[in-house]
């Protein structure tokens, strides 16, 4: 994950704590989405950015996941996201991102 983004996530987690703060992802691919979820929960596995060795414990969801999708206005979801459900590998992305909330 981009270093600038890691820094902002770290600052925000410090400010708000990890109880009421969640991360919503829009990754194009399972591995990269999983990597982002891992970075904000367990720390940056690539040891490149500020979150290397910093487990913030934030919960991350992909916007495709039911937990998010079901709470969004269906019309807005349809306009903004639905087309990409036809394009990307939804199941693989969801399965990968979910792993980092359970572990």
């Amino acid at each position: 994950m981009d270093m600038g983004i890691q820094q902002r996530v770290m600052d925000l987690a410090e400010k708000y704590g990890n109880e009421d703060l969640i991360v919503v992802l829009g990754g194009a691919e399972a591995e990269a989405s999983g990597l982002a979820a891992e970075t904000v929960s367990k720390g940056d596995p690539t040891f490149a950015g500020p979150l290397a060795g910093v487990p913030l414990g934030l919960k991350a969801y992909h916007v495709f996941e039911e937990e998010i999708k079901n709470e969004v206005d269906p019309q807005v979801y349809d306009d903004q996201v639905s087309m990409m459900e036809m394009v990307l590998d939804v199941d693989a992305i969801i399965n990968e991102v979910r792993t980092y909330r359970e572990g």
């Binding site: 708000y16 919503v24 934030l58 709470e71």
Partner: protein
């Protein structure tokens, strides 16, 4: 689940970009505290 929560959005230029996710999250009653979009190319 989202109502009353604070949300960080990390979109992807070749997936769902940040601002598109933002439009969605706004309708769920959450407060968006940061939006970014990643680019790998």
């Amino acid at each position: 689940m989202l109502s009353g929560k604070k949300v960080i959005i990390i979109g992807d230029r070749d997936g769902i970009p940040g601002p598109a996710i933002e439009e969605c999250i706004k309708t769920a009653g959450a407060e968006i505290v940061f939006t970014a979009t990643e680019c790998f190319v």
